[in-house]
Amino acid sequence: MGAQLWLFAAQLGTVILVLAVAYRPLGDYMAFAYASPRHLRVERGFYRLIGVDPSSEQSWPAYVRAVLAFSTAGIVLLYALQRVQELLPWSLGLGPVNEALAFNTAVSFVTNTNWQSYSPEATLGFTVQFAGLAVQNFLSAAVGIAVAVALVRAFAARHSSTIGNFWVDVTRGTLRILLPLAAIAAVLLVAGGVVQNLDGFHTVTTLSGATQEIPGGPVASQEAIKIVGTNGGGYFNANSAHPFENPLPWTSMLQIILMLVIPFALPRTFGRLVNDNRQGYAIAAVMATFFVVSSTVMTLLELGGSGSAPRLAGAALEGKELRFGIVGSTLYGTSSTLTSTGAVNSMHDSYTALGGGMAMINMMLGEVAPGGVGSGLYGMLVIAVIAVFIAGLMVGRTPEYLGKKIRAREMTLASLYILTTPALVLAGTALSFAIPGVQADVTGTSIANPGLHGFSEVLYAFTSAANNNGSAFAGLTANTPWLNTALGVAMMLGRFLPIVFVLALAGSLAQQDPVPVTAGTLPTHRVQFGGLLIGTVVLVSALTYFPALALGPLAEGLLHS
């Protein structure tokens, strides 16, 4: 175990080092990309095509309408693509996807969740993967960053009635940030052995004489954006545990870094845009603290896994790839669940009860440490608003964050934001067991492991969906009408309600004139505030999910310990 811990420390240290090196240049570059007044020629062409004046700014309701229209169009298009799959080229002979699954998948990819109720290689051909899913991988990520940038702009604004132009933000996010990064990532992945072809299935005969279907496809190009955009939807059912998606320990390490790099650099972008880099460092430090603590705890739990099989193997190796080992798996699992990516290189369902519980807790924190691209930053800023409110009262001033006062309207929107996800998770889980017909279906068809673990599987599914993570306890068969629909609704509401609240918050913050900083102002860049923010994140989620966790992973895990 000692050697494993050193290995963990070395891997964690490497990740942190690379992220620290990337923090300033990438953060500054992203700030520049969104703040620059100049448009690229290709961008201008695109704006002309869709009939948008890139120099005009939108009020918050207009921004919301644009986000919703854009995403609705994405869902409709993706749904249609799946339903007419047999008519498309390179469909590999696969037929149309059924309604519930097509709905679930469309919502899943447009909401940056990438929950997969299906087995991709058995369900989707190249065209849907390439023209449908991969496109949404870019666009949903760009939407997330756009909303975050709109909120940041609002903090920096003085008496402004607008918060930016969605079409410009989403275009720049795609063209200037995601495409270049994904291109670099794809090349590196191909270098590491990730496949990239249009070959379809190869039938091979194995050494023992059996025949086997080996799938191919444009994997590396899709894998790159799956990771960089914190999407997580695998090309193959086994996701990043599949050797064609993630062949080597170093590609696994690369994927971890790529998942984290944008979410961890966005605080820098935030600091730059509000003209106070210290604010960015504070947010990044809080995120990093969660990451270090959470990955350490999960690693310790898996290394110390109890039960006879883990003890014989030396650790809880069930469901983990030997080429990644415990440490390579837990670090990946933590990165994936803390970033709302949801990609897996090991099966979370097979983790120890408490280790799997950590994956759930990571998501229950609200995907803010560092969270998905964009969504992590705006989530953290909303929680910062709540933290500032309570702390601000305690210093005897109307609470303010970055000079913007937190009053009834701001508080209403922030409260609605933090209410949404827990309500979806708990209601979804409870309804799965409360509606008589559904209950029979869930316990009879979906749950693979009855008892406490079966409950955890359902809880995990709704936590993952409502938080737009997309990872799963794979024991759950989610391709049922109830789960496809309910999880689809949870993903949709879990993505767009918070976005509406965030943009409304942005609108109301942008209108304010900032209050000047004095000795009576609560400083929000110091360790003290960082601690307070950590406390708020933990308390808000711990108080909400404690009973549910007690009934699932805690009851199961503490029973064995």
Binding site: G396, T398, L431, F433
Partner: protein
């Protein structure tokens, strides 16, 4: 504390009316829970206990929970009732002044021809019948029938009914002391008053409504906090509603009273119960300091103030120039200068004159006044004063140029001495003082300059420290003065204010406030004159002096009955304390939840899932005793914190960071730890009850 709690009990019970309760969503949830548990407690023996998890709970358990839930609601009402009770007593004494009094109304008052209304026809009416614009005559011994402005005459008025200050005050026509308040008594002379308030809307009426809390509206921060509390409550309602479907999968449903108990423990009852009491008590603290805020909003704004405008005269300085030093010129002796200065001032009745005498006496000069001396009074032409002694010696003090000229009349000053004199005079002026030159001319006509008396506007004691405190709180002080910039700068430096506005006109003041506000600052100021009214109205916190005009009082959002401009600093402190108290108790309330979870979750599920027994870190006796203990703690903590809610959290003027650290430690960390200890102790007692 005990007796107000008991006297407030009946009021607290009356407040159980759901129509009143629903305004406080957190406590309304508790009341619903209490009612539901009561129904279950009554029907349980008849219908049989519902199929619950684990070992069946004692029948006394449900009754116990129901009882303590009701107690929780009553405790919350008690906090509010006690806070209101303190205002009621004040309101009663104020109401006594409002009884209708006879008034002498002038018919067809003619302002120009008969300002004193000596010849006008009058009619006796009741004060209740007076309306806006009526003119009344009030003579010594009568009670002023309504709020108004003196339009003629001067009188001394006893305002103790509203200010509590027994010394009479002067009210006169014109100037900034023309406002009179209904219910106060004229002690001497006769005044003519124009009524400026409608019946029922007088100053005293507003004051009564204010201290009774009837006019209380939720303040912006209170609304925002209520939203947070409501959404926390909603989250916990969802948490509790979803427990049974989830637990039901394992066949371990929880009984309704247990769920209600969990819900009540989780929702922020502590702050929910005390929130309105904190607000009422905050207003009350202002009233105790003789400040009337027209709205809670103004009190809150006071806590946010970042710029304080203070008038120099009367606020920062004593207002009268006083002698602070004797500065001899050339070879003149200190003692001689002091002696002559004193003799020349003994007959001077002005405060400046007497301050010279005081200073000289402090320096050991006690010569009796010379017999037969002739006093030479100050005139605008000579601009000097002094005495001519019987032996022909003439002593003079006065403006430098005039005294120099007077000396030059009979001889003159040596160039070297003249240069020295100029030097001193300039130095004194630059330091913000006024130089008075002292000269003597003996019987032989030989005149010489002895030196200079430095007169200065003296900064009030302790102000330098208070301004430093304000700076630490993040508040900038700006001194407003009519003085020239040179003098203003010197006094500003001496008092330690951050900035000053010299040669200020009312327009300048208004412009300054607007400039500060456009930079995002919140401005507080005091004022008394009618020409202050626009600035008072523009300022975020405008404190009008009670001695001021009614225009000023209307424009401001607070009135200081003591007319003490430095009280602005106290007002800011009270505003901050109000917010801090709310924030601290909110933090405490939320932090409490951690321990309650550790009490209730194992109690709910440990029988079904033995693994969860490790969560019972407090080693509570049984499920029933754990849950009941958590509920009892939850109720008792409300009562325990009522004194804190009424008194307010201690506030020290230090930086925001340090205040936060301190409060996080006490109310955050304390809020996590305290219930672990409290619930354990209560459990030790509850476990002695049979059946638990």
């Amino acid at each position: 504390m005990t007796s107000p709690l008991i006297t407030a009990l009946p009021t607290a019970a009356r407040k159980l009316d759901p129509r009143l309760m629903w305004r406080n969503p957190v406590m309304f949830i508790v009341e619903i829970g209490a009612a539901l548990t009561t129904v279950i407690a009554i029907t349980e023996p008849l219908l049989g206990a519902p199929a619950g998890a684990g070992r069946p709970l004692a029948p006394s358990f449900t009754i116990g929970i129901a009882a303590w839930l009701w107690i929780t609601v009553v405790f919350a009402n008690l906090a509010e009732a006690v806070a209101e009770g303190r205002g009621k007593a004040q309101a009663a004494s104020l109401r006594a002044t409002r009884t209708s009094t006879p008034a002498t109304r002038v018919i067809d008052y003619d302002e120009t021809a008969d300002a004193t209304a000596e010849r006008a026809r009058v009619v006796e009416v009741s004060s209740a019948d007076l309306t806006l614009g009526d003119v009344v005559i009030v003579v010594a011994g009568q009670v002023i029938p309504g709020d108004g402005d003196v339009v003629s005459g001067i009188a001394s008025v006893d305002e103790s009914a509203i200010t509590g200050e027994s010394a009479p005050v002067i009210r006169e026509f014109g100037g900034d002391r023309s406002a009179v308040t209904g219910g106060t008594r004229v002690l001497s002379d006769r005044i003519v008053v124009r009524i400026t308030s409608k019946p029922g809307e007088t100053f005293v009426d507003r004051m009564i409504r204010l201290v009774e809390g009837a006019a209380r509206q939720k303040t912006p921060n209170e609304i925002a906090l209520n939203i947070l509390l409501a959404s926390l409550s909603i989250v916990f309602v969802i948490v509790v509603l979803t427990i049974n479907p989830m637990a039901g999968y394992a066949g371990r449903e929880v009984s309704i009273p247990v769920l209600i108990a969990l819900l009540v423990c989780l929702i922020p009852t502590t702050i929910g119960a005390l929130l309105s009491a904190i607000g009422i008590a905050g207003m009350d603290r202002l009233v105790q300091r003789n400040v009337l805020a027209m709205s809670g909003r103004a009190v809150e704004a006071a806590g946010d103030v970042t710029t304080l405008l203070l008038d120099k005269t009367g606020t920062i300085t004593y207002g009268n120039r006083r002698a602070t030093a004797f500065l001899p010129v050339g070879d003149a002796e200190d003692t001689e200068l002091a002696r002559v200065a004193r003799l020349a001032s003994l007959a001077d009745p002005t405060p400046e004159g007497s301050s010279i005498v005081t200073l000289a006496e402090e320096q050991g000069q006690h010569e009796p006044p010379a017999r037969g001396a002739i006093v030479v009074p100050f005139t605008a032409q000579t601009r000097m004063s002094g005495v001519d002694l019987a032996d022909g010696t003439q002593l003079r003090k006065g403006a430098a140029s005039m005294v120099s000229a007077w000396v030059a009349e009979t001889g003159g000053i040596a160039p070297e001495q003249s240069r020295h004199l100029d030097e001193i005079v300039t130095r004194v002026s630059e330091a913000g003082g006024t130089p008075l030159v002292v000269a003597v001319r003996d019987a032989g006509g030989d005149a010489r300059v002895l030196g200079v008396i430095q007169l200065k506007d003296v900064v009030k004691d302790g102000l330098v420290e208070r301004f430093a405190e304000l700076r630490a709180m993040g508040i900038r002080t700006v001194m407003i003065t009519g003085d020239n910039p040179l003098t203003a700068r010197a006094i500003a430096a001496e008092a330690g204010v951050d900035d000053f506005l010299a040669e200020a006109t009312p327009e300048d003041k208004l412009a300054l406030i607007r400039a500060e506000q456009s930079g995002g600052n919140l401005v507080a100021m005091t004022g008394d004159g009618t020409n202050d009214a626009p600035a008072l109205a523009q300022a975020d916190v405008g404190v009008a002096m009670n001695t001021g005009t009614s225009a000023a009082k209307e424009a401001g959002n607070m009135v200081d009955l003591d007319s003490d401009p430095t009280k602005l600093i106290d007002i800011v402190r009270i505003g901050k304390q109000l917010l801090i108290t709310r924030g601290a108790l909110t933090t405490f309330s939320i932090a409490n939840d951690v321990a309650k979870y550790f009490a209730i979750i194992p109690a709910m599920f440990a029988a079904a899932f033995p693994g969860l027994a490790v969560l019972n870190v407090m080693a509570l006796h049984s499920s029933a005793s754990a849950i009941l203990s958590a509920i009892i703690f939850n109720a008792l903590v409300i009562v325990a914190l009522i004194p804190l809610a009424l008194r307010g959290v201690r506030y020290r003027p230090v930086s925001a960071s340090r205040i936060l650290s301190r409060n996080l430690l006490i109310y955050g960390l304390g809020g996590i730890i305290a219930p672990f200890i409290g619930i354990k102790l209560i459990d030790l007692i509850v476990s002695l009850i049979p059946g638990f």
